[in-house]
Symmetry: C2
Subunit: 229 residues, 2 copies
């Protein structure tokens, strides 16, 4: 079914493009789609280029014409999966306006997005190892992590005190890591429904704790502004 859909859109998109460009784009799509499927199912190491090009019904010549190698193709898949997740989450929080409410909505949306098998495998589980940690962080910077930054910014700037950018980044990294781990724990649970409820309760509780401090007007001891020499 995925194949028929892919075949259907062959030549059908990118209206203002030449015949060649359409063929070329179609080939790239076929490669990325096939790679995404195989990487998700079998993982990076267990997926051979022969399997990918065979599934995409092209040859290695085509692959190496468009991508510099296996890792570059993986990166294309990674970006596609990340963008899909980002779009899904952004859409979910678009309506809300209150910071804490927005955080709650983002939490739910993030938790759902992280369930996607492709996201789990390609981004969370194998992303750091395949891309290398540096490139992994760069990629996340402008996708799922960007959302977390945004949420944290809204929530923590709601208090009386202001946090500088490195401090916001630190909070965001912590929450991002927590959310990824939470997503895995949900996806791996025999009862994802109940597991998801537990995670929402737990993080909701943590957020409530923060809110309590903020509402109490408790000072945050930012090490950057706290002098203790």
């Amino acid at each position: 079914m995925s194949k028929s859909a892919a075949a259907k859109r062959l030549l059908s998109e990118i209206p203002g493009a030449s015949r060649r460009q359409q063929y070329s784009a179609s080939t790239r799509r076929a490669l990325v789609d096939a790679a995404a499927r195989l990487f998700t199912e079998k993982g990076y190491a267990a997926t051979s280029l022969d399997a990918i090009v065979s599934s995409a019904r092209v040859t290695k010549g085509a692959l190496y014409h468009h991508y510099s190698g296996k890792q570059a193709l993986y990166e294309a898949v990674f970006e596609q999966v990340e963008q899909a997740a980002k779009k899904s989450i952004s859409k979910a929080v678009a309506g809300t306006k209150d910071p804490w409410e927005k955080a709650q909505a983002a939490l739910t949306a993030f938790l759902r997005a992280v369930q996607d098998p492709s996201y789990r495998r390609v981004v969370v589980q194998e992303g750091p190892a395949v891309l290398g940690y540096e490139r992994y962080r760069e990629q996340e910077e402008h996708s799922s992590f960007a959302i977390v930054i945004d949420i944290v910014n809204n929530v923590l700037s709601a208090g009386t005190w202001e946090l500088d950018e490195p401090m916001i980044d630190t909070f965001a990294r912590i929450f991002h890591g927590a959310l990824n781990a939470a997503g895995e724990s949900v996806a791996a649970d025999p009862d994802p429904e109940a597991a998801s409820a537990r995670v929402e309760a737990a993080i909701g509780f943590i957020l409530a704790g923060l809110r309590s401090l903020v509402d109490q007007g408790v000072e945050f001891a930012d090490p950057a502004t706290t002098e203790n020499a």
Copy 2:
């Protein structure tokens, strides 16, 4: 220096063992040590078995005599690194008794342990991809994650309410993920000292939030015990 140390302890340990057993244990150690070094420096995929056996001054025959393959050797390295981390953290929290104080001590110790290059690379970055997520979780279950479970148990059972085991596990997974991410953010920072201070401040604040709720006697809405049909 590591090599001379390894050479020195050749035949020098495992007192009550036969000559053969000592030789055997010595080669296993040489293999794991060499593998640990190379896996840490170059990563799993970029480290060839030839490089490992050459560094350990044995041959592939020896490797495959002791381990079933590359992945099994990796797992041995993984366990060694994890045990070292666990021991280090356990020692640091051994003195304290008060739950919140213990949590703070564990946080600091965990943050330091996660800085170890071997731990970062072998456990956090490449562990899930190389071992597969299932085996990765099993391995963590009885090492670094076990500590987090213990801490969470102490802290959250300090309140008036009791949490069931799945809920404790959920909290622990969240914190564990947060700590790993925090460790990476510290290690990748150009100024690890300052980054570490930020992380401690952030997590300290989160813990303070939780404590605030606990002290206020706020009910935790456990989805397992909250009926809403």
